[in-house]
């Protein structure tokens, strides 16, 4: 077997995943704090004010990375949902369910920070604009996944039912992404492009990108922290959990 494939296969085992996540987490936390610290300092104290938006542009250093994360996490959940439904991988079920509250947190931050940016810039906290509405639908989708998973007692059946809902909700991702192009919206079109030149000056773009990296590190850390608790709960009847918790060593 290919060594990389074998490693991934091994990682699918709950005890291996638990131990691996425990080793990775401190590094992810350090990377989150370093990149987040640099990004926030740059965005708040070094980057210039925008000639149109003024100082309120500083909200984008948390709003845009949170918005990207809200969509990226849902896509991550969808990939894991496929693994959970097709191959019935236990770790994929856990990862998909553990990601949902983090995704909901980022979506909530996106909506609130966007609303707080909108008041001084647009003159209103909220408008039923296509981008804002589709983002609100995303928050409800996250709540739906969390609610459905909590409503069914059998954890594995609950994860599979919630995975199905995740896959149905994927349709909302292109709607969010292209809403500013498909409909006439108050929300401005994308200013940062993966292909082609971004319409944002480098002095503002860099802190934004660093914050985007920081939120990704945070997500990885928070995901592993939540997944480890879920693994422990689901495997609580197994000998390895009992041996680990009853031994002097808190972690294997």
């Amino acid at each position: 077997m290919n060594p990389i494939l074998y490693w991934f296969h091994k990682l699918g085992s709950p005890p291996t995943f638990y131990a691996f996540a425990g080793k990775l987490m401190p590094w992810l936390l350090v990377l989150t704090l370093i990149s987040g610290g640099i990004g926030l300092y740059w965005g708040l104290f070094v980057a210039p004010a925008d000639y149109l938006q003024g100082e309120s542009v500083r909200i984008i250093y948390i709003h845009v990375p949170a918005a990207w994360m809200s969509m990226a996490i849902y896509a991550f959940m969808a990939v894991n949902a496929i693994f959970a439904l097709v191959w019935r991988t236990k770790i994929a079920e856990i990862l998909a369910m553990a990601a949902a509250p983090i995704g909901a947190a980022f979506t909530f931050i996106t909506l609130v920070s966007g609303s707080l940016w909108g008041r001084p810039t647009w003159g209103t906290y909220w408008t039923w604009d296509a981008r804002l509405t589709s983002q609100l639908v995303l928050l409800f989708l996250y709540f739906g996944v969390i609610g459905l998973y909590s409503a069914i007692e059998d954890r594995r059946r609950a994860a599979r039912a919630a995975s199905l809902l995740i896959l149905v909700g994927v349709i909302n991702l292109p709607i969010i992404r292209y809403s500013v192009e498909w409909w006439s919206t108050l929300h401005q079109p994308a200013t940062i492009r993966l292909v082609g030149e971004s319409s944002m000056h480098a002095s503002m773009l860099w802190p934004l990108l660093i914050m985007a990296i920081a939120t990704k590190f945070y997500f990885a850390w928070a995901l592993l922290a939540r997944s480890r608790v879920m693994v422990l709960r689901q495997e609580s009847g197994k000998a390895w959990v009992r041996d680990m918790l009853e031994s002097k060593e808190p972690r294997p």
């Binding site: 100082e55 709003h63 947190a105 707080l116 928070a222 918790l245």
Partner: protein, 58 residues
């Protein structure tokens, strides 16, 4: 920072509120697994202790 406090004074409450929401939500999200793990470990230890006592009696 000086510009933030002078020219953009009217925007400052919105900026501060946004960053407070950002930190409070992520902090709550970060603390939850730590609390949940502690509670779970305590519950499991209690359960196993009860099982041991029951086994010793029988």
């Amino acid at each position: 920072m000086n510009e933030l406090l002078s020219e953009g004074l009217s925007h400052t409450p919105f900026i501060i509120a946004s960053y407070i929401v950002f930190f409070v939500v992520l902090l709550a999200d970060a603390v939850y697994p730590w609390i949940a793990r502690r509670r779970l470990v305590r519950d499991l230890n209690t359960r196993w202790r009860r099982e041991r006592v029951r086994q010793e009696k029988t």
